[in-house]
């Protein structure tokens, strides 16, 4: 058993290495083919597309992180925080495309806000010709990404929270006269950020490589690089696949550059923070504006997501709904009735893949971390990169390699699809769980051992229960990632396993807001349920344990 456990990290890495290598080969191989790079460089939109990828990625990650930290610093423990958390956590599971479509309907010139104000306030009887969506600077895209990532970062931070003894640090700092914000920045932020770093990197990589959000909200002349790569990939004559691969390779370089830039900014920020701390600044005046910003940011994100989804929900039961009517002219359940007959098997497939891949990923992650703990292993840098690659290489060029591998192995059907999901689910589960796991006070294990408990007993009876919340959160994140897989499901199952997402994406290619509304709600419902359990579970189980239930 011990030998097996010891081998788990290596085995897991090997398990990941094969698909990752196949995926990378599929991305980089064609990129090096003659003509691919020159075709990419000949594209006139390239400089702007590259800039857009960088600016929207960096700006949205910075903003999302800032809002998350401000909320944690100034609102924790208030009623507003509890409300925000209740509203935001189910929103984490909203698929990116659905969130983007909801926001698009909200802010478009013919969208809900304009409708609500027209014609009485604006005088518009027809939609004005304004470039709000798809603006050339990528502002709508940036805001959309912020709205989508704040819930994720907030949840990741909360999963790490119990391990950093935040309340005692804050209390101590505040008794020394530090303002709430300053106390957070000087005492909680350093250990918190150490645990939040990987999720933040994932957010940055995701923001730069996401296709759906860029397509719906982003500029389109030229689009961000990720969207253009996807366009080349699906070009009908298949003649642009080399260009797509070269674009994907460039995308990979860009993500690495952005991560390096971010790392630099982290170091600069640390120096700044240390400087301010040693200067003894108490900064109590910062609290009021910080609280205001946190409230405004949190409220904007929540309101934007909820109103967008409410708009989609309304569309799902709308008959004719013309501009500038604020509400549909007629209501009908036809769209839901049409979707109903296929929902059973589709939901079953989705659940099977998500429970299977998230469950497997959680078991592997626990085994790896436990091996790390017992044998004092440290993951090597190459190992971490391997885990990370599936997240930072654009999926659309990565997946054909995975597909090819499955074909070569003669694998197909449910097992191959599940394995494909695992490649994308495992990194998220691992990076959600690892910080909390590593930060757990080692004295619990020592104490258990000194009382005669075996390492197994210490794991099952002490540490896993203590880590229940991060375990459930990691599972829920993995579950949501699996539910959101489109291309992996389509390619690896040969299209024969229909899930809520494959159905939703193919339907949304028709732009039908009514159907998109139906599927967005359904796509959200399953992961929302799992997230609710992840939040409620510990609260119920540990309602008589102070410090663990919150």
């Amino acid at each position: 058993m011990t030998r097996l456990l010891r081998a788990v990290p290596g085995l897991t890495l090997a398990l990941m290495a094969v698909p990752v290598a196949a995926g990378l080969a599929a991305t980089l191989g064609p990129a090096l083919a003659p003509g691919a790079l020159s075709a990419l460089l000949a594209w006139p939109g390239l400089p702007r597309a590259v800039m857009l990828s960088l600016t929207t990625g960096l700006a949205s990650t910075t903003l999302a992180l800032a809002i998350t930290l401000l909320i944690l610093a100034t609102l924790r423990g208030t009623r507003a925080f509890a409300a925000l958390l209740r509203l935001l956590s189910p929103l984490l599971s909203v698929p990116h495309a659905a969130a983007a479509l909801g926001l698009a309907f909200l802010i478009a010139p013919s969208g809900w806000i304009a409708r609500a104000l027209s014609p009485w306030a604006t005088g518009w009887s027809q939609a004005p010709d304004l470039l709000i969506l798809n603006d050339p600077a990528g502002l709508s895209l940036t805001l959309g990404l912020v709205a989508k990532e704040v819930p994720f970062l907030l949840l990741m931070a909360l999963a790490a929270w119990p391990q950093i003894a935040a309340p005692s640090r804050l209390t101590l700092a505040q008794t020394l006269g530090y303002g709430q914000t300053a106390a957070f920045a000087f005492t909680v932020l350093p250990p918190l950020y150490r645990q939040l770093r990987l999720p933040v990197y994932a957010v940055l990589a995701y923001a730069m490589t996401s296709v759906e959000m860029g397509m719906i909200l982003g500029p389109n002349l030229p689009p961000p690089l990720s969207v253009q790569v996807a366009g080349w990939m699906t070009e009908a004559s298949l003649a642009q696949r080399g260009t797509a691969a070269a674009g994907a390779a460039l995308q990979l370089v860009l993500v690495l550059a952005a991560l390096a830039l971010w790392r630099g900014a982290e170091i600069a920020a640390r120096h700044g923070l240390t400087g301010m701390a040693t200067a003894g600044l108490r900064l109590p005046g910062l609290d009021a504006p910080a609280r205001l910003l946190a409230l405004a940011g949190g409220a904007a994100v929540t309101a934007g997501l909820i109103a967008g989804l409410a708009g989609l929900a309304l569309w799902s039961v709308a008959g004719l709904w013309r501009f500038p009517a604020a509400l549909p002219e007629s209501l009908s359940l036809a769209t839901w009735a049409r979707a109903a007959p296929t929902l059973g098997p589709i939901t079953g497939n989705t659940l099977g893949l998500a429970l299977g891949s998230a469950g497997l990923a959680l078991i592997l992650a626990i085994a790896c971390l436990e091996a790390e703990h017992r044998f004092r292993l440290r993951p090597s840098a190459p190992a971490l990169w391997l885990l990370w690659l599936p997240l930072i290489v654009p999926q659309i060029t990565f997946l054909p390699g995975l597909h090819r591998l499955a074909l070569e192995l003669g694998a197909g059907g449910f097992a191959a699809t599940l394995a494909g999901h695992l490649v994308f689910v495992l990194p998220y589960v691992f990076l959600s769980l690892a910080p909390a796991w590593r930060a757990l006070d080692p004295r619990f294990a020592t104490l258990a051992a000194s009382l005669g408990a075996s390492p197994g007993r210490s794991l099952w009876a002490i540490r896993l229960p203590l880590l229940l919340r991060p375990l459930l959160t990691a599972f829920a994140v993995g579950f949501a990632v699996s539910v959101g897989q489109y291309l992996a499901t389509l390619l690896l199952s040969g299209g024969r396993i229909a899930t809520l997402t494959t159905e939703a994406v193919s339907l949304s290619s028709g732009g039908n807001r009514r159907l998109i509304g139906v599927y967005a709600l359904l796509q959200m419902a399953l992961p929302a349920l799992v997230f609710a359990l992840a939040l409620l579970g510990p609260a119920l189980l540990y309602r008589n344990r102070r410090g663990m239930a919150a």
């Binding site: 006139p44 702007r48 939609a127 010709d129 969506l133």
Partner: protein, 404 residues
């Protein structure tokens, strides 16, 4: 010996060439339907339109009931994904039991599959319903973007570019490219087209070429890089003139046909266009477009083409796939597809070749509020050679794609 084994033996028998051609076809087809019974056909078809998905479900019910063939639609967002999947299977040596049995296809996707040798066939002329197809009146059923289909894909619907407008807002829509230009300039912000290389966006560029070129017949030959600039000069003039008067001043374009249709439904534009002449009626019937929307075509005609189904070389259910292709050509299925409340697709059949009873199926159809009757829709112009689509999309992207 059961019937299936018997038919297989018949197929293999050396006596077969001695039979007259027609009789042989019947025997062969019986063999095919026998083998098809019990097969499951995975049809990769664009899944963006619930009306089409429902129609395919209905075809599947017929196929199961009459031929014992199970039809499953794989709803895809982009046909190129499925073409690439078959290509990957071939490269990995998977020559049987492939994931795609039937694929809805035309134009560049077909050209790519044919070029790469990814198609099974020829099978089309062997389909019992093939003689009903209007080969003389609708040449597009055998020529896909100037590429002869050579029996490798079977047509199932005709499409023709029609313009859509709201008659409550606009009484006399522009009927030539020249008039359209003047109308755009007089009504800034109320017209746009999907962003090339989207196929409908490129179709619009081709339509402008047809309306402005001195000699559109050159479009039937491959685009020649040496003369391309000169040939497309009138199109470039048109685009340069109207650009600032387009929706969003030409700084953003809808992604595809669906997004363009949504702009019309949202009242962001006044004139839209679609490849399905019955789209507007079907949307009105579904309550998603106002009943004041009407359609029209341009003087001199608009571009028309056909939708096809093809069978990948490595399908594990080629017989079942042929049964479906044949079923799609039956008058009953064609009439249902043409029903404005179902799809509003135009039939590929020659009505004169049908029996009295089958003709009546079409005569009974209500066109819907917005669909032009066959005698009003005007001539269908041939699709240019496939190389024009790529060249036009590249040229447009070079001129406007970077947003400068």
């Amino acid at each position: 010996m059961d019937r299936r084994t018997f038919s297989r033996l018949m197929l293999a028998s050396a006596a077969l060439p001695a039979l007259p051609r027609a009789a042989r076809a019947v025997v062969e087809w019986d063999g095919i339907t026998d083998i098809a019974r019990g097969q499951t056909v995975w049809w990769h078809a664009w899944g963006g339109d619930p009306k089409i998905n429902d129609f395919i479900t209905w075809v599947g019910e017929l196929a199961l009931e009459r031929y014992g063939v199970t039809l499953n639609q794989v709803k895809i967002a982009s046909t190129a994904d499925s073409v690439a999947a078959v290509l990957a299977e071939r490269d990995a040596g998977k020559t049987t039991g492939g994931s795609v049995d039937l694929i809805w296809i035309n134009g560049e996707n077909f050209a790519a599959m044919k070029r790469e040798g990814l198609l099974y066939g020829p099978f089309v002329e062997n389909l019992p319903n093939w003689p009903l197809v209007d080969m003389a009146g609708k040449p597009a059923v055998m020529t896909d973007f100037t590429l002869p289909t050579e029996g490798y894909e079977s047509p199932w619907a005709m499409a023709q570019l029609v313009f859509e407008y709201d008659s409550a807002r606009l009484t006399d829509p522009p009927r030539t490219i020249e008039e359209l230009k003047d109308w755009i300039l007089a009504n800034p912000g109320r017209f746009t087209f999907p962003k090339p290389p989207d196929y409908l966006g490129v179709t619009f560029l081709k339509q402008v070429l047809y309306g402005t070129m001195p000699d559109p017949s050159v479009l039937q030959r491959p685009a020649n890089p040496a003369t391309f600039r000169r040939r497309v000069a009138p199109l470039r003039d048109f685009l340069a003139t109207v650009r600032d008067a387009l929706w969003r001043e030409g700084r953003a374009y809808p992604e595809n046909e669906a997004a363009l249709g949504q702009l019309l439904a949202d009242g962001e534009i006044d004139i839209s266009f679609a490849f399905n002449p019955g789209r507007a009626s079907a949307e009105i019937a579904a309550g998603t477009l106002p009943d004041t929307i009407r359609t029209y075509t341009l003087k001199g005609g608009t571009i028309g083409n056909a939708s096809f189904v093809a069978i990948p070389f490595n399908s594990g259910a080629k017989e079942g796939a042929q049964v479906i292709a044949n079923l799609l050509l039956s008058p009953e299925v064609q009439a249902r597809a043409q029903d404005a409340t179902v799809l509003g697709f135009q039939t590929v059949l020659n009505l004169a070749a049908l029996t009295e009873e089958d003709r009546a199926r079409f005569a009974m159809l209500d066109l819907g509020l917005a669909t032009l009757p066959p005698d009003k829709i005007g001539p269908a112009l041939l699709e240019p050679h496939a190389s024009w689509a790529t060249a036009l999309a590249d040229d447009w992207t070079a001129l406007y794609g970077s947003g400068d």
